[in-house]
């Protein structure tokens, strides 16, 4: 019995070792992250950032002067829009080439490491492959970084454009409702607060009650909409065979974009 079962056990063990590291390796090597603050500290990016700051300071003075001359709300909105456009154009012109280079570097390193997705370090608590130093080294080199000829491999990590989802009519309406409630409550509690005069303890109680009221309203108005959006996102993820969905702003390379699918599902 022992003699016969030993080869089976060894074969099973060999099979397990063959399968297990493969499964483990896939989980371990698939997800990478980059510390964006280390990239932002590179001299080229610091210089871009300084130039942008100087341009912004210069624009601020002009903006203040232009706003003084704008008499109507529409004129003020136009001034704001014009200056935002000027700032964005400058940003594109100054930072665009550097940002593109960073993206190419991340993609290149991710591809070398066989990663399907690279995210911002902030959202990784444990594990994952830190490719920051490799990206920094590549960026510090003088060689040209060429675009990859291939798309990133499919990933079980998906993403949604949170900003796009937050601009849905449901979220906007809930936010406006909450805003109106906050203004009403601020006036109400503000009057009570003023009545309490120098009684700090009483004022603290009023402030705590105000916060509680705001939290309760948030739970009642905003949370159902957020929960529904999360639920629909999770269902879409499941249909697409994805495990986790993160915000697009945290994705630096790869991943699967399901924003449109979620928007479509929400509008049904």
């Amino acid at each position: 019995m022992k003699k016969r079962s030993l080869p089976i056990l060894l074969a099973t063990a060999a099979l397990m070792t063959a399968i297990a590291p493969a499964a483990t390796a896939r989980d371990l090597s698939d997800i990478g992250f980059v510390d964006q603050s280390a990239i932002a500290a590179l001299p080229a990016l610091v210089s871009v950032s300084q130039q942008l700051a100087a341009y912004k300071a210069q624009l601020n003075g002009q903006y203040t002067a232009a706003m003084r001359g704008a008499r109507t709300p529409a004129a003020r909105a136009q001034v704001t829009q014009d200056f935002n456009t000027r700032m964005n154009n400058e940003q594109r012109q100054l930072a665009g080439p550097e940002f593109m280079r960073v993206q190419l570097a991340i993609a290149s390193v991710a591809s070398t490491h066989g990663l399907s997705v690279v995210v911002d370090k902030r959202i990784i608590i444990y594990g994952g492959q830190d490719i920051t130093q490799d990206v920094v080294r590549l960026l510090q080199g003088s060689q040209q970084i060429l675009p990859l000829g291939t798309a990133p491999p499919p990933s079980e990590i998906g993403y949604v454009d949170q900003t796009a989802l937050e601009s849905s009519p449901q979220v906007r309406s809930a936010s406006a409702q909450l805003q109106a409630y906050a203004e009403k409550e601020r006036r109400l509690y503000g009057a009570q607060f003023a009545q309490a005069g120098g009684n700090t303890q009483k004022q603290q109680q009023i402030a705590a009650a105000y916060n509680q009221a705001m939290n309760a309203e948030q739970q009642q108005v905003l949370k159902p909409v957020i929960d529904h959006t999360q639920q629909v996102t999770a269902q879409t993820a499941q249909r697409k065979g994805l495990l986790l969905i993160i915000d697009r702003a945290d994705v630096l390379y790869g991943g699967t974009d399901i924003t449109t699918d979620v928007q479509n599902a929400l509008s049904k």
Partner: protein, 420 residues
């Protein structure tokens, strides 16, 4: 048995199959939920309440000024400062004319009494440049002086505004530092209290978790736990009230110091302006006298009358200097008062239009620092837990999940048991 034993590392622990197809070694944590169970969360709520207090303070009827009224007041003060400058320049110019006329009248009278009769003879008697040349040179000197005055006063105003801004920025920094120092004190107390009675809490918690506990004992134990919580909260609240009082007093002190420093610096600038103007006036006078050529001996006039005329010139020059000094001193006082009002208006920005904003910003910095500290603690615990459970990657900012393992509750449990 062997298969089970070999399969065990793959399955992980605590009933989670870490490598199941729906998990694949991935876990996630809802950070906001866990943060609420950190021992420092009560302090974070306190800061939120403090922010609400400031917001409510601003929402009440005690808001001193609106942004529009500050802008109006600002424009009024600026125009008053400009008017004071223009007025001073006009007075100085008129004084120059007045003293010139006075000197001429006195000299003419002295010459008349010495036997020189007509105005034309006065010029001839003086024997220097013609009176027309002298008048033109004096007019030019007057224009130069006015131009110089305008430029010096403008420099003074620019310097005054720069000083006001700098002193205000310094005051904000001091207040921020004080606020952070108080937060550190509250954090330390909060941590000390949560650790101080950890053993006692754990013992009560363990007893409470026993199912076979009679209601009376359960109530008593729960009461003990509640009393401990109340006692801790009361201590933190007391420290917060005392910190708040200390902060209010410190703010009053900083504002008083800032205003005193503003007054001193503005006074210094005005003194400098005055000195510059007086010394320029003297230099211009000397220049004028030298440009009109060396004083020639007066013809047809006795040495006694000549001496009398020189004495008149010296006396009137002295009177003019004293009078102009008074005008400039008057300007300095008015300007000081207006600049202080200007400084207070903008210093009162903190206490008026943006008072609420400034205080909220200080509190928000405190909140961010405390939140970062809590998150660092939560992440540290999450790393330990992930390692223990055998996960490969743990995310914190997940929007939605169709798979992976939600580690939130396990982490909350770990954090709570660490402090109980």
């Amino acid at each position: 048995m062997a298969l089970v034993a070999m399969g065990a590392p793959l399955a992980g622990c605590g009933g989670v199959n870490v490598n199941s197809p729906s998990v694949r070694g991935l876990a996630y944590v809802k950070l906001d939920d866990v943060v609420k169970h950190d021992p420092l969360y009560a302090q974070l709520s306190n800061i939120d309440d403090a922010i609400a207090m400031v917001q409510l303070q601003g929402a009440g009827p005690r808001v001193p000024r609106s942004a529009r009224s500050i802008a109006r007041e600002d424009a009024r003060l600026r125009s008053q400062i400009a008017a004071a400058k223009a007025r001073t320049q006009a007075i100085v110019a008129s004084k120059q004319r007045e003293y010139r006329a006075r000197a001429q009248t006195a000299i003419a009278a002295a010459l008349r009494s010495a036997g020189v009769r007509s105005g034309a003879n006065v010029g001839a008697a003086l024997g220097s440049a013609t009176s027309q040349q002298a008048a033109a040179a004096q007019a030019q000197a007057g224009r130069d002086m006015r131009q110089y005055q305008a430029s010096v006063m403008q420099q003074g105003t620019v310097a005054a505004h720069a000083i006001v801004q700098q002193l205000q920025a310094e005051a904000t920094q001091k207040l921020q530092a004080k606020s952070l120092q108080e937060q550190q004190r509250e954090t330390n107390l909060s941590l000390r209290l949560s650790q101080q009675d950890a053993a006692q809490r754990l013992s009560i918690q363990t007893k409470l978790s026993m199912l076979a506990l009679d209601p009376a004992t359960r109530q008593r134990l729960q009461g003990q736990l509640d009393a401990m919580n109340r006692r801790d909260n009361a201590q933190i609240a007391a420290l917060r009230v005392s910190d708040q009082r200390e902060f209010t007093a410190y703010r009053a002190q900083v504002m008083a110091q800032t205003n005193a420093a503003m007054r001193a610096q503005l006074g210094h600038i005005n003194d400098e302006t005055r000195t510059k103007l007086v010394s320029h006036e003297s230099a211009l006078g000397a220049q004028l006298r030298s440009s009109l050529g060396p004083q020639q001996p007066l013809m047809h006039v006795t040495p006694a009358t000549q001496a009398q005329i020189r004495a008149i010139e010296a006396r009137i020059e002295q009177q003019y200097q004293a009078d102009v000094q008074n005008v400039l001193a008057e300007y300095a006082t008015t300007s000081d008062a207006l600049e202080v009002q200007y400084a207070e208006l903008h210093g009162a920005d903190a206490a008026a239009a943006s008072a609420t904003q400034q205080e909220i910003e200080i509190l928000q910095v405190r909140r961010q620092q405390l939140y970062a500290r809590i998150v660092a603690h939560v992440q540290h615990e999450a790393q330990r837990l992930a390692q223990r459970k055998g996960f490969h990657v743990v995310f914190s900012g997940v929007t939605a999940a169709a798979g992976g393992y939600d580690m939130t509750n396990d982490l909350i449990h770990d954090i709570e048991s660490e402090h109980e």
